[in-house]
Each structure stands twice: as C-alpha cells, then as structure tokens.
Amino acid sequence: MIQGSNLTKRYPGGFEALRGVSFEIAAGDMVFVTGHSGAGKTTLVKLIAAIERPTSGSLVVNGQNVAALRDSALPYLRRHFGLVFQDHKLLFDRSVLENVLLPLQITGFGAREAKKRALAALDKVGLLGREKAPPIALSGGEQQRLAIARAVVNRPSILLVDEPTGHLDANSAEAILDIFRDFNRVGVTVVLSTHDTQWVERYQPRLLQLDHGQLV
C-alpha cells in the first residue's frame, strides 16, 4: 500500500532529515514510527502525505509514485488519507461540527448526508453532544478527538497520525490510541508517529524506528 525506497529528505538549508529510508506498509497494518525528537518522524509522515516532497528516492502510495505527482493531482491523493496533525490544525472560528464537515464539503457531499456522517464520526470519538461547541471550549484530549473525527469522517483507507499523545496524560493518551486501534481492527491502515515507546507493548504495532534520519 505504501512503499518507500531509499528516501532522502534534505530541507532548504541543507539539513538531511531522512537518509536512505526504505520500508513497506501493507494494507491493514498498524505502524508506529518511533525515534527521538528530531529523528525525522514528522518528516516521514509529511512525505507520505505529500506535504513535503522527497529530495531523492521513490515513494509509492496505492500504486502512484508520489514523488512524480503533479501539484494538481495532490488534492486527490490526500483524500486517501485521514491526517491528524501534531498541532491538530483545528479551525477555531468554526463549531466542532463545522470542523468535521470541512472534508465532506471538499469532497462534495450533500448537506444532509454530510451532517449524518459528521455526527457518526463525532460519535466514534465520543464527542457527540458537543457539536455546537467552539473547539476552544474543548480540553486537549477532546481537541485531539475532534482532529481524529475530522480525519476519519471521509472514511479514508489510511490514517496518518503525528504525535497524538504528545501533550496528554497517560490515561487520555491510552484512550486516544485505543481509538486508532479500533479503526485498525476494522481494516484501516494506521501510521502513527510517537517519541513515546511505552505504548508498544499494549498495541503490538509494526515499528519503524528512526535515529537521526535513518531506519534502525
């Protein structure tokens, strides 16, 4: 489903965040990308989502070579993914429901069907009943859940998640990770970056361990 071979990412300024990284992720996998801060986890997630382009190497997602994709094709590639960003990227001038509706508006759902789906997604992350609230009124864990609801509302086949447990206490973190495990159990491929290796035992994911931009 996702194949990277010999991926290198050099940022403007010359810093090599990834060097010769090769991996393969199959449909239905649950993968944790681990490593110290600055190891290149976020960079790898961004490459897969085509938010950054690799400097060299090839990256194939669903049979498409992402590295060679035209800019105008990127929106359609990204719709395969549900993206959860480390900083959530919620829209604070919109209600919880409107945040979740955004991906559906982008793909062009009718208002009624969109609302039904958005409420279902909010239900899955345990935010049903909060749909009118502004995101600012949510706790850190709840904001994370809202970001997840927005990522899954389009029923993507791949979830890409960057540091979902970063700012959370252990209990909230576990609750969040459980949500991703549940999605994985129904067949969604999950690629999740975390600097925190304490969760490996509980979820038994496949590991991509990064160290200074290289796979260990």
Binding site: A49, I51, S72, P75, Y76, L77, R78, R79, L83, F85, K89, L91, D93, L102, P103, Q105, I106, T107, G108, F109, G110, A111, A114, R150, A151
Partner: protein, 299 residues
Amino acid sequence: MNAWFSQHRAALVRAVRRLLASPLNTLLSLLVIALAMALPLAGYVLLDNLKSLAGHASGNQQISLFMADDASRKDSAEIESRLKQAVPGAWRFVPREEALKRLQDSEGMAEIVASLPKNPLPDAFIVEPGERSPEALEALRQTFSQWPKVAHVQLDSAWVKRFDAFVRLGRMVVALLAAVFCAGLLAVTFNTIRLQVLANAAEIEVARLIGATDAFIRRPFQYFGALQGAAGGLLAGGGIVLALRWLAPPIGELASLYGAQYALAGPHALDLVAVALFGALLGWLGAHLSVSLSLRQLG
C-alpha cells in the same frame, strides 16, 4: 451533479455570510464600486439623452442659399425656377429687404441697422428638402453652389454633424472612463479578497492539507466578488435612476421655456441588469485573480 450543486450552494452561503459578517466594510466597498460604475453609467445615459435630443432637432433641416451681392431680381427668379425643377420639398424666398426688416425688429439691432449706409444683406432662399439624409443634403449643397450668382450655401444641419462628432467623442470618453473604472473595480475587489485570503490563511492551509483543490478554495471568494460587483452595479443603477427622477422636473421646465417638450430618459431595466451582470463578472474575475495569486504565494 448533486455534489456539484451542494458545493456551489455552500460556497454561495459562505460568501453571503462573509458579506454580512462585516457590514461596514461591505457597505464601504459597495459604495466605492457603485461610484466607479455610476460615473461611466451616467455618461452613457447623458449621451443617450443627447442623441435623442439631436434626433428631435434634426427633424427640420434647412439649406440656406445666399445670392451674391450684385445679384438682381432676375438672377433670383432664375434660381427660383431652377429650384422648382430640382428640389422636391418646400422652399421660401427671403428678399433682402425683408431680411433687413427682420433684423431691425430684433432687439437692439434697430440702431445698428439704421447706421448702415446700405442694406448689407443678400437675397436668400430657405430650402427644406424632402429628402433629409446627410448625404442628400450635402449633394444639394454642392449643386446649389454651382448655380450662377449664388454666393454661399449653408447647410443648417452642419451643427447636427458637429453634434454627431461630439457625441462620438463623448462615447469614446465614456468608454475610456468605463475602462479606467473597470480597472479600479478589479483592483478594489482584488485587494478586498486578498485581505480576506490572508485573514483566512489558516482555514485555507487546512483545507489544502486535507485535499481541497484550488477551485474549491477560490469558489466562495469568487461568489463574494461576484455578489459584491452585482450589488455595486445595482446600487450605481439605482443611484442614476434616482438622480434622473430628481433632475426630471427642472429639465422639463427648462425645455418648456424653449417651447419644447422633453423628458429625460433613464437607463432601461435591461441596462441595469447588464450593469449588474458586468459588475458580477468583474468581481468574479478580480476575486479569481486575487485568490490564484495568493495561493501561488502560499505555495
């Protein structure tokens, strides 16, 4: 189809919401746009009225045919017989004595006329030809001036031609004005939308990250620009209509002082629709350019 429709409706709703969200800004932009459109529109209406006024006036076109100073009554009789043959239409002989008498009767001229050693005025014919196209009149003028003892032929419709030229110039000025103000309108929309794009940069970034096409991002702004342009156009048209209604009574009065009946013609409903559509088009274009540029800069 359904998806297409719901996307456009959502974009339209968001555009309306944005317009209503900052009423003061919206009002100011609308005023600027309306002003930019009102000026050329006013010029257009003015020209339209002048043209119809000229149409009224050109109904009684005359050719004045002046005999030479030394022409005798016999020469005049010769011309008269030629006119009989050559010209379908009416004509009238004005002997030099009658012309002088008329001049004397006009106010303030009596003393001047009295001080003249002899009658300076020639015999004249006033011809009102049946065929009144500018070409036919011009042809007649040519013919008359070939005739013996004819000193000068004056086409009284010359002013109509001059007026026509003036109207044509006016039309060019209005077109130029329209072009300048269109550019202004584009610039205003461009700038308004640019500020909005910057204000919504976070939303645009997120939308792009989760798969929005540029077309999707542009759409609400395009609707915004189009709505603003259309509203500005309607406001301009409405302003002109009101101004004309206000001007109509004094102009009617003025016309009646000259024994004429004249009512100002306002823009037609179709003109107003055209102006609104044109405003919408320009607004849409300005928004399109603005968002496209901003998106390229956002990378």
